[in-house]
């Protein structure tokens, strides 16, 4: 008796799903699709739509209409163009500085450091991720402020920091996003078989040539993966510029300033970094690196 009751338990839902793969797929994707379509795509779409509306100059109310006035503004007004270019430059600079720091550090960690030191460094690199974003920005502000740590330290040498300006913004953003570059680069270098270093030096290559001809080509996918983060996160940032940039304005700063006064202009302007990122991703995709993320 117990035999039949054990083995013949009916599971109506399971057997229904087993026979209907489409229903099964729907069950699997229901939640993620709600998230992506309902929240993510929809809000972006609304943003795009808003970009074509305008603000009534008398009432300051947003009125739905279709016009390209906002786009004309951001593509002709020199302040908007200059800010776009400045932001692009800052994002590229942050990415470059991250690469320049991450590659030697990765080589050291992966190939030279003792296992203990390697683990300590891995923790040290990821540690900033555990602190709040604003905490780090304020920390940089304290270091580089007029009476701050940097000027105090360098005073005996007669060196003064640049004050709050573009270089400090680049430095702050590098500090914020460096782990996103350092970790993939370190992992990629660790995966290079040590014997390739032996082979390279065996065939007459000194350290620098080996790095240039063997290490760099092999970690390009990791660098591109890391740069997607450093580049796009830098493009969208505005708090670093606000707290450590002095008068420096980035795309984010202008959007933040317009978001209450003139939402359609803010919406139109926010298309600029999105476009930059899309172009960047398309270029990165052509190199075939995104598949390895």
């Amino acid at each position: 008796m117990s035999d039949t009751s054990m083995s013949r338990q009916r599971r109506p839902i399971s057997s229904y799903l087993l026979r209907r793969p489409k229903v099964r797929l729907l069950g699997l994707l229901a939640l993620p699709m709600t998230w992506i379509v309902g929240v993510y795509i929809l809000s972006l779409f609304l943003l795009l739509v808003t970009a074509f509306w305008n603000v009534d100059p008398f009432t300051s109310l947003v009125s739905p209409a279709f016009n390209l006035e906002n786009f004309r503004l951001i593509f002709t007004n020199s302040a908007y163009i200059a800010t776009s270019i400045r932001t692009l430059f800052i994002a590229l600079a942050v990415t470059t500085v991250c690469v320049v720091f991450a590659v030697p550090l990765g080589i050291f960690m992966a190939k030279i450091a003792s296992p203990r030191l390697r683990n300590a460094l891995a923790v040290a690199i990821t540690l900033p991720l555990w602190a709040g974003y604003l905490v780090k920005v304020i920390a940089m502000r304290l270091v580089f402020t007029e009476e701050g740590f940097f000027n105090w330290l360098m005073a005996p040498l007669g060196i003064r920091g640049p004050g709050f300006s573009i270089p400090i913004v680049i430095l702050t953003l590098t500090y914020l996003w460096f782990p996103y570059m350092a970790l993939p680069v370190y992992t990629a270098i660790r995966q290079i078989p040590p014997i390739l270093f032996d082979a390279s030096s065996d065939m007459g290559a000194k350290g620098f040539v080996t790095v240039y001809r063997v290490v760099l080509p092999l970690i390009v996918p990791a660098i591109i993966a890391g740069s997607v983060f450093t580049f796009s996160l830098s493009l969208g940032d505005y708090l670093a510029a606000r707290f450590t940039g002095g008068s420096t304005q980035m795309i984010g700063s202008i959007i933040a300033a317009n978001i209450n006064l003139n939402p359609p202009v803010a919406a139109a302007y926010s298309m600029v970094p999105i476009t930059f990122v899309v172009i960047y991703l398309m270029v990165a995709r052509r190199t075939g690196s995104l598949e390895r993320m």
Binding site: I195, D198, A199, S201, M203, A205, V209, R213, L218
Partner: protein, 400 residues
């Protein structure tokens, strides 16, 4: 020193690969082996090379001199006071079980490991602590170590590029090197698109194109399957002979070592046990380790040796040198015959391996070629009382 002795007439049991010198260099008649049958290891046919380039006169000089080399990893003495001369143009094999220090010695010659003590000279110049890129030796690695992001052509050009060879010239040299290993059609492929044997050939071409004085090979055939390995053994040997490059070959495969080498260096626990031609190390093992490591051997010592041979030295006799004869057999004066009982007979294809007990309770292993089909052959079965017969000259007293 060995060469000097050779030069004035003290010939080695087997001539070194290219040359046997007679009294004056003018009369030097280098010998070359004839035919591929040599690779089976039983070649005795030698043919004089009549045209000799001036470079060939330098054959009998030690190209690498290793003195008191030592390397310690943590508490392990990986290499313990090793001295060795490697002659120019020879194929020398470092053979030993894993962990015996053979690879460490190779890596110290290449410059990947820094010795703790001792010296290495290449062509008379000390290279003990030079970095790998300053040494005129090249290495073929076990896992090939091809650069995965470079085409075959770029891999082969790599060393030429670091030497700043002009572009057109290095492309041409690389093309020739790739052609010499018969892979012209694969020049634009990436390493992962090649088979194991093809990768091995490219790894070889990549080093040969640099014309090294010495080529170091670290178990280069270890990752290949048996058939391919045997093909590559022939190919390697041909390349070595044609290019006249000194090969230092590391392997743990004794058959491979015997097939290919002019001389074999046997390593154990960081020390050299014996250096000699394949015949020397097999027929005249200098130590108990060598006797047991190469092929199989009946090693008898102490009390057992006292009973069998009347002295207590260590004696080795190969299983294939003992014959089993019916009890009626009368030994010749230079033979020893011992009554034994067959304990076990194992058919292993080409041979039958017998384990027999002597009256003293000593077990001997005997290998007999199966020349006939079963039944047409007088094979023995367990329980048979027979005679184990060997020629006295086939026993080897091991000095150490």
């Amino acid at each position: 020193m060995l060469c000097l002795l050779q030069g004035i007439g003290f010939r080695l049991a087997r001539p070194s690969q290219h040359a046997v010198r007679v009294l004056f260099p003018a009369f030097t008649v280098p010998l070359q082996r004839v035919g591929m049958s040599c690779l089976a290891g039983n070649c005795t046919v030698w043919r004089p090379i009549m045209r000799i380039s001036p470079a060939e006169y330098s054959f009998c000089v030690a190209i690498i001199e290793i003195r008191h080399l030592a390397k310690t990893f943590g508490a392990v003495k990986a290499v313990d006071d090793i001295s060795l001369d490697i002659e120019s143009g020879e194929f020398i094999t470092l053979l030993g079980p894993s962990g015996s220090g053979k690879t460490t010695v190779l890596r110290m010659i290449a410059g990947f490991e820094d010795p703790d003590g001792g010296t290495i000279h290449l062509n008379g110049t000390e290279i003990t602590h030079l970095p790998p890129f300053d040494r005129e030796v090249n290495t073929v690695f076990q896992d090939y170590a091809l650069f995965p992001h470079m085409t075959v052509q770029d891999n082969v050009e790599y060393g030429l590029r670091t030497r700043k060879v002009p572009k057109a010239e290095r492309a041409e040299q690389a093309r020739q090197a790739i052609a010499s290993v018969k892979l012209e059609h694969a020049r634009e492929r990436l390493p992962h698109q090649l088979s194991g044997g093809q990768r091995q050939r490219i790894a070889l071409a990549r080093t040969l194109v640099l014309r090294p004085k010495v080529l170091l090979l670290d178990e280069p055939l270890g990752a290949l399957d048996r058939q391919l390995r045997e093909e590559m053994q022939v190919e390697l040997k041909t390349i070595q002979r044609d290019a006249g490059i000194t090969f230092v070959f590391v392997t743990h495969d004794q058959e491979e070592a015997m097939r290919m080498s002019d001389r074999i260096v046997i390593f154990n626990e960081g020390r050299i046990e014996q250096v000699g031609t394949p015949e020397q190390v097999y027929e005249r093992p200098a130590t108990k380790f060598v006797a047991g490591f190469l092929g199989s051997a009946n090693i008898v010592s102490g009390e057992s040796a006292q009973k069998l041979f009347g002295h207590s030295k260590t004696v080795s006799i190969r299983p294939e040198r003992i014959r089993l004869k019916p009890s009626s057999y009368t030994p010749t004066p230079d033979e020893t015959a011992l009554p034994v009982v067959v304990n076990e007979a194992a058919f292993i294809g080409a041979n039958t391996v017998y384990l027999v007990d002597t009256d003293h309770g000593i077990v001997l292993s005997i290998s007999k070629t199966n020349e006939e089909l079963l039944g047409q052959d007088n094979r023995f079965v367990p329980g048979d009382r027979v005679l184990a017969v060997w020629r006295n000259s086939h026993t080897v007293v091991i000095p150490a």
